[in-house]
Structures are given as structure tokens and as C-alpha cells.
Amino acid sequence: MSDHTAHGLRALVAAFLDTHDPDGDRLGFLRARFDAGLAWVQHPPGRGGLGAPPQLQAVVDDAFAAAGAPDNRPRRNSIGLGMAAPTLLRHASDAQCRRWLRPLWTGEEVWCQLFSEPDAGSDLASLRTRAVPDDDDWIIDGQKVWTSLAHEARWAILLARTDPAAPKHHGITYFVCDMTAPGVQVRPLRQATGEAEFNEVFLTGVRVPDAHRVGAVGQGWQIARTTLMNERVAIGGRPLPREGGMVGVLARLWRERPELRTAGLHDEVLRAWVGAEAARLAALRLRQLIAAGEPGPEGSAVKLSFAELSQRISGLEVELRGAEGLRHDDWTMRRPTEPDLLGRTATYRYLRARGNSIEGGTSEILRSIIAERVLGLPTEPRVDR
């Protein structure tokens, strides 16, 4: 429809802004932007895109930002944008995409993820939540855990077992579950930080129409891999400026509080700085590598480094603060939509960062993925299939 160059897309945005007031109705503006294919330019027309090269997304975002246009508040719907949308775009039907993608992108509908279970953590494929067919519906029973945003979400991507007799990876189906449906119960799950950032979700006789099944029955595990690879890229993949993230907090503390400095911690601060800068450049290089491609297992490396660095840097910051590091701000239970890793105390950062090597694939699982999928090392002897 137009030339897919930076110049061509800037012209498209300019034309759009001529007919849509960025200071007018926020939702109306965002819906129109989606319909104009300026939401996700690399995706097909009709699904928020134009079929343009993915690296042009930044050009479009910059042009809208420069015009003072409202954004879709991406951090409020991180699971929807980062995990549900890539999966739906790849595996959902046209009708499903029409129903879900636009309100997802505009932020009108928040999404959450119902994958993990108390007994199926790293071994996600051992999940036990059942989906039993009943006319044109499926009846879902089970318990899910580690669900962020469940208390704000309208929809959930859900894995459930549809064939208990099949080998464990083959009996799973992928659904979209209405979080307002009867039988869905959400309970906050409090963490070491004192916050309840996550939830437990109990599903009791929840009806999901077969029209909300994504992909074929029994293909859920393959589809979930799209979701999970995008999760790892989403967790580790944001481009950061130098000293972006926790290392910047540490560096500023070192500069602004000379009385805290010791010789022993100086070298540790420098090592942390070096490690963070190396990880940042590697993430940047990965973005350049996959600019035109699919996320691959390399994202696991970025996520692994992010977890280790955030733990090391926050732990170092607590020690550098010394007497201050013995103090916390508040243990009151809160329900944040996302962790506030840069805004609160060093102690909060330290405690919250412990979760970074557990959530979204433990560091142990990620190392095995790298060893097997990148290096081609043999799998361990399996006893579970």
C-alpha cells in the first residue's frame, strides 16, 4: 500500500496525524492507529500492521511520540503485549484475531497467563489442570499460580490437559479464558518482598467456548513455546542506555556518597559495571541479529545474564549502603502491577531480584536450553516419557 521505508512510514504517520487529533479521545485515537496498521507495523494489514520490516516500528513509535500522541501504556499490559499477542498473531484464527488483538493493543483489555501450577513449575508440561469437552464448550478445573495481573485481567492465555492418556507433551491444549467467567477465583500470593505481585487462580467448572481454543486440540505445548520464547525476550530484551537499570542506581550511589566508599567494594562496583555493560552490548547485538527474524534460544542468555546481574548488583548495593542497608521501607502488603525495581529501597531490589532467576524459566532450565538448543549437547536420560 505504500513504500516500507523509514521515509514512507514517517509520511504515513504524518498523514494519520492530519486526520486524528492526538489530544482528542485517547481510546479513539489508539483504535484508529491500530486500524491504520500503525500499531505493529511488521504484522499483516487487518491485524494492526502493514507487513513492513520490524525495525521500522521504532520509526513509527518515535514519530507518534514526537507528536505528543498517547501511547498504549505498555507496562500495564505486559503479558498481553509481550506474550499473548505474538502467540495469537502466529496461531490464532482470523476471527480470534479480530476479536482480541485491537482491545489488547489499545490496553482496553488486560491479559494474564495461566500456565504454571503448584506441582508444575520448571516441568510445565506436567500440568494437571483438566479441560473436558461439553457440547461446544470445555469445562476447566484446576489450580494455577504465579499469575501476575490476574486481578486486573479480562482475558488469560491458558494451558490445560485435554488428553490425560497421551504422553505428557501431547495431551495439552491452548485456550483463551475469560477471567470474568463464573468459577474463576483470584487470590493474591504474597512474596518475600511483602508485596502480592502475583496471584493464585482457582478454576472450578469454568466454561470456555471451543471458539476460544487456539490451535488444534493437543497442540498446546508447541504453541506455548512461542509464548515462552517471547517471554524471555520480553524480560531481557528491552534496549537500555549505558547505566540503564540497576547498575545506574549503584553508580550514582557511588558517585554521590563518597563516605560509603571502601577499597574492597570499589573493585566490586567496577566489576558490576563491566558486567552490566557487557550484558547491555550483548542484548543490543542480539536485537540487531533478530531484527528481522524470530526470537530464538539466544534470548535465554540475555534473561540469564539479567537475573545474575540484578541479583549481584542489588546485593552489592545493600552492602555498600552499610547501616542503611539494614533498613527496609515498608513490609505492608501491596498489589503492584509490576515490580518497582528502580524506585524503592536497595533491600526491595535485592529481595525482588531473587525472583528473577526463578520466574519465566529458572536459570537452571535456561542453561539446559542453551546447552541443548544452541550447543547441541545431548539431553539427559528421560524417565518421564
Binding site: 504454571s116 503448584p118 513449575g121 520448571s122 516441568d123 506436567s126 499460580v145 504465579w146 500470593l189 504474597r190 512474596q191 518475600a192 511483602g194 571502601t262 577499597a263 574492597g264 567494594l265 570499589h266 566490586e268 541479583q311 546485593g315 545493600v318 552492602e319 552499610g322 547501616a323 542497608g325 539494614l326 533498613r327 527496609h328 521501607d329 515498608d330 513490609w331 533491600t347 535485592y350 529481595l351 531473587r354 525472583g355 532467576s357 526463578i358 520466574e359 529458572t362 536459570s363 537452571e364 542453561r367 539427559e380 528421560r382 524417565v383 518421564d384 516419557r385
Partner: protein, 379 residues
């Protein structure tokens, strides 16, 4: 040669303390107390003091104590660390060392008898080598008019209401009654919720000197050195709990059709914790044993103890959280109580890097001569 083992009396003491803590201080009770905002367990503390006489362990018999010594104090601390028990015993042991140094026999007798709580009013993060002069002290307290103290000391551990405070001020060490209106204690939100900290404000508070000059400075240094040395045993007990609990969990938790504990990455990580813990135990025993020794060996052993055992306990607690997976990260599981205590303890009495710097002086491994750190070496 130091005996680095536990003798029969020490093992018997351990059994008694462990049984008492198992009966009266399960972690569920501690977590509930933390949630309730008042973590110190006064009932448990009375049991330890009245039934077991823990505050008399390091007090000589002629002053009413059990004449056991700091090795036994260390054994009690191991068990308290293992249970993250919220009682002010570490502070009492530190105060005991100060009172012994000052030959303050009346207070020693009252402490041993369980008649009063005594605490050294110095910030919990203070390293032994920072306590020796008014200019090095983080929170200076001024003396006067007359025998009164004015000032603010922040982040003091184990300072229970109605106890006595040993306050370094000017060139002396004073006793102040915390129950006095001129003393205001305000609670701090502490990282380690099982060891509350307070800020203490003195406003012309009546004070009685118990040592002056070098004797006062030496008493405070000895007390903080004892704190650093004894804390190592608490850290060993804490790390042992983390290891034991994690081993038990990974033996029972199954993933991929196998016990999680059969995976080599898990096994090797726990083996590393065990090796470190084995070393930390030897280091902590050595520090407890040398506490009574004269000369620089007590200071060296204490610096070594905090340079080594603090990080070991933190790693053990971190591995505990990691290998429990999601459940170890929840508020309902006790792992976070241990993680928070381990991280706080790594700061208490000075961070590991401070103790390494102290060792550099004690064993003659001086820093580079230039201060710039840039153009210093010929390569």
C-alpha cells in the same frame, strides 16, 4: 592448637536449646509475630534466660555465672540462627564481653541472674575497628552537663525496652537506663524483621561511667570483636538450616519424573554449599575459641570469621530460595526470614570487605602505596 570440635557439654547444651526452640519457637510462630509487628518473643527469651541461664554462660562463677565461656555462647547462637529465633541473646553476649572488660561485676551478676537486659548502644553495622575513637564512631554522643548524655544512636539491635544501655560517649563508656524518660527509642523498619532495630535519642539522660580512656575504648572494641566472632556461629546455624531444609525439599519435590535433588546442577550446588559450610564451621569455632585469647589473634579470628562466614550464610540462603523455586519466594515459606537475616548479618559488625581490610593490617598485606589506584604499578 584450638579445639575446633564440640565437646560433650557443648553437644548437650545444643540438644537442650534445640529442643526448647523446637517446642516454643517454630518458624510459623516467628512469622506470625513478624506479621503482628512485634517480633521479639519475650516468653521465649524468659525461658532461655530462666530455664537455661544463657545470659550466665560466659560469666565467671564468682560473679554468679555458669563459667562455661564463649564457646558455649557460640553453640547457643548456632541454634538461635538455625531457628531465626527473635530473642536478644547476641546483644546480651556482646554486652557481657564489654562488662567483663570493664570488670563491672555488679551488672555481670544481674545479667547472669536474668534480672536485667544489657545492650551496647552502637549501630549494628559498626565494625570493631570503628569503635575506638570519637572521630571514628558513626553516631557521636556528647557528655554533659554533668554525667548526662545527649545524642542519637541509630540502628541498634537487641535494645529491649526497660533494659540497660552501655553507651560509648566522649572518652568513656556509660550505663544508661533505657526506661528513663530522657531516653527515647523508636523502632526502625528493619530488613531482618526477626531482629528489630531501634534509633535511640538521649536528651540529657542520666549516665554512670563504668570505664574511661583506653579501658573504655578497649572494652567497646572487645565487645564488637566478640560480636563479629560470635555472629559467625549464628551464621553457621542459619546456613545449616538452609542446607538441611533445601536437601529435604529437593529429595521430595519431583519434576520431569525425578526428584529435583537427582539433577546434577542441584546436587553440585548443594555440595558447594556443604563445602563452604564445613569451612565456615571451622572458622566460626576458631573465632569462638580464640575470643578469650590475648593479643591480636582474637581480632584476626573475628575478622576472618566475618570475612568468610557472612558471605557463606548469604549464599546458603540464596541457594535455599533458588532451589525451592517459586514456593521459596513466597511470604508463607520461612526461607525469606533466613534470607533477610543472612543479608543483614553480612552487614552487622561490618561488611566482609571491611574485615578483609582489617585482616590486611593484621597479617601485613598492605594496600598499594598510592591513593589514586591509577598509576600505581609498573605494568
Amino acid at each position: 592448637m584450638s579445639d575446633l570440635l564440640y565437646d560433650a557439654d557443648e553437644e548437650a547444651l545444643r540438644d537442650t536449646v534445640r529442643a526448647l526452640l523446637a517446642a516454643h519457637a517454630p518458624w510459623q510462630r516467628t512469622l506470625a509475630a513478624v506479621d503482628g509487628g512485634d517480633p521479639y518473643d519475650a516468653t521465649l527469651w524468659r525461658r532461655l534466660v530462666d530455664q537455661l541461664g544463657v545470659t550466665g554462660l560466659a560469666v565467671p562463677a564468682e560473679h554468679g555465672g555458669a563459667a562455661a565461656g564463649f564457646r558455649e555462647v557460640a553453640v547457643v547462637l548456632e541454634e538461635l540462627g538455625r531457628a531465626v529465633a527473635p530473642v536478644p541473646f547476641l546483644g546480651a553476649a556482646v554486652a557481657t564481653r564489654a562488662l567483663l572488660a570493664c570488670a563491672e561485676h555488679t551488672l555481670l551478676r544481674r545479667l547472669a541472674a536474668g534480672e536485667c537486659d544489657v545492650t551496647v548502644a552502637v549501630g549494628f553495622a559498626t565494625a570493631p575497628d570503628l569503635a575506638t575513637g570519637p572521630e571514628g564512631r558513626p553516631d557521636p554522643v556528647t557528655v554533659g552537663p554533668g554525667p548526662t548524655l545527649t545524642g542519637r544512636v541509630t540502628g541498634v539491635a537487641d535494645a529491649v525496652p526497660h533494659g540497660l544501655l552501655l553507651v560509648p560517649a566522649g572518652d568513656a563508656l556509660y550505663v544508661v537506663d533505657a526506661a528513663e524518660p530522657a531516653v527515647r527509642m523508636s523502632a526502625v523498619v528493619s530488613l531482618d524483621a526477626t531482629r528489630p532495630l531501634v534509633d535511640i535519642e538521649f536528651t540529657a539522660a542520666a549516665a554512670r561511667p563504668i570505664a574511661t580512656g583506653t579501658a573504655a575504648a578497649d572494652a567497646v572494641t572487645a565487645a564488637l570483636t566478640a560480636g563479629a566472632a560470635l555472629l559467625a556461629s549464628e551464621q553457621v546455624g542459619l546456613a545449616q538450616w538452609c542446607l538441611d531444609t533445601t536437601v529435604a525439599y529437593v529429595r521430595q519435590r519431583h519434576q520431569f519424573g525425578r526428584p529435583v535433588g537427582s539433577f546434577q546442577a542441584v546436587k553440585h550446588r548443594l555440595a558447594d554449599v556443604w563445602v563452604e559450610l564445613t569451612e565456615a564451621r571451622a572458622v566460626a569455632r576458631y573465632a569462638a575459641d580464640r575470643l578469650g585469647a590475648a593479643g591480636p589473634e582474637a581480632a584476626l579470628a573475628a575478622a576472618l570469621a566475618q570475612a568468610y562466614c557472612g558471605p557463606v550464610a548469604v549464599r546458603a540462603a540464596e541457594v535455599c530460595v533458588q532451589l525451592h523455586g517459586g514456593i521459596g519466594f513466597t511470604w508463607e515459606h520461612p526461607a525469606h526470614l533466613y534470607l533477610k537475616r543472612a543479608k543483614s548479618a553480612a552487614i552487622a559488625f561490618g561488611t566482609a570487605d571491611r574485615h578483609r581490610a582489617a585482616l590486611a593490617r593484621l597479617v601485613d598485606l598492605p594496600p598499594p602505596v598510592t591513593a589514586t589506584a591509577f598509576g600505581d604499578a609498573g605494568r
